[in-house]
């Protein structure tokens, strides 16, 4: 049941990610992968919001392990960071995309948490 609910909620998150990150990426002419950044930070913020409220295990599964996990992506973040240039030395953009996103992701969890708690 866990796998089934997680799969359904996660797949809806994936479609939302595809539509939102695609829309942002085509509207912004930046060398930085802003579409992925946006969905990842929004997804982290959603998780923060959910930790701040009392949730049932099913609610957690739907919103956090399901939707938000499917809405955000780690693999695309990694490949896009690598494409910003790692060799012979990591480019400033790659370092920024790695470090700033890591910090902002944790910050978005904290901000969401303090909003609802």
């Amino acid at each position: 049941m866990t796998v089934l609910i997680g799969a359904v909620a996660g797949s809806l998150g994936a479609v939302a990610r595809y539509l939102v990150s695609g829309a942002i990426q085509t509207r912004t002419r930046s060398a930085m992968p802003l579409g992925t950044a946006a969905v990842n930070l929004v997804g982290a913020f959603i998780v923060g919001l959910v930790i701040g409220v009392d949730t049932t295990p099913t609610g957690w599964l739907l919103a956090v392990s399901g939707f938000a996990a499917g809405f955000t992506t780690f693999s695309t973040w990694m490949v896009e960071t690598a494409r910003l240039g790692l060799f012979p030395r990591p480019s400033a953009r790659a370092v920024v995309n790695l470090v700033v996103m890591t910090v902002l992701g944790i910050a978005c969890i904290a901000i969401g948490y303090y909003v609802t708690n």
């Binding site: 996990a69 992506t73 695309t76 990694m78």
Partner: protein, 135 residues
């Protein structure tokens, strides 16, 4: 599905449908790995680490292979955006680092963050190099 049949479906429907189908598979796999490797409080979350690093490797491999091979329509939406996008997760990663920091396990949080990001990057690079060398 044969491409002739697939080509009759409008792209605006077929592309998100491919993401949805891939998303079901990727999310189910991630949930399954989560059940197989239960988290232990204060320790590095191995399940998320495993799917994130493996997914980064597989995406690096897929994207370079895709440039060199004939793939079916919506393969990118199914495999890259659907399956591998959903198998891996940024929100759970951030949440787990947050929880470790909150619990005062600063060293574990740093190790987890470092191994995930640097390991994920290396995995993506190795995957793409193997994709280049593949025949």
């Amino acid at each position: 599905m044969p491409d002739s049949l697939l080509s009759r479906i409008p792209v605006a429907i077929a592309a998100p449908a491919a993401v949805l189908a891939g998303g079901v598979l990727g999310s189910a796999l991630r949930a399954g790995v989560g059940l197989a490797i239960p988290p232990s409080p204060g320790a590095v979350p191995v399940a998320t680490l495993a799917v994130n690093v493996f997914g980064s490797f597989a995406l690096g491999f897929y994207l370079t292979r895709r440039e060199r091979a004939v793939v079916s329509r919506f393969s990118l939406q199914f495999w890259a955006i659907g399956v591998l996008g959903s198998l891996t997760t940024f929100s759970t990663f951030s949440y787990e680092v947050f929880v470790l920091v909150e619990a005062g396990s600063m060293a574990t949080a740093l190790v987890y963050g470092f191994v995930s990001t640097v390991g994920g990057l290396m995995a993506a690079v190795v995957g793409s190099r193997i994709g280049e060398a593949w025949r």
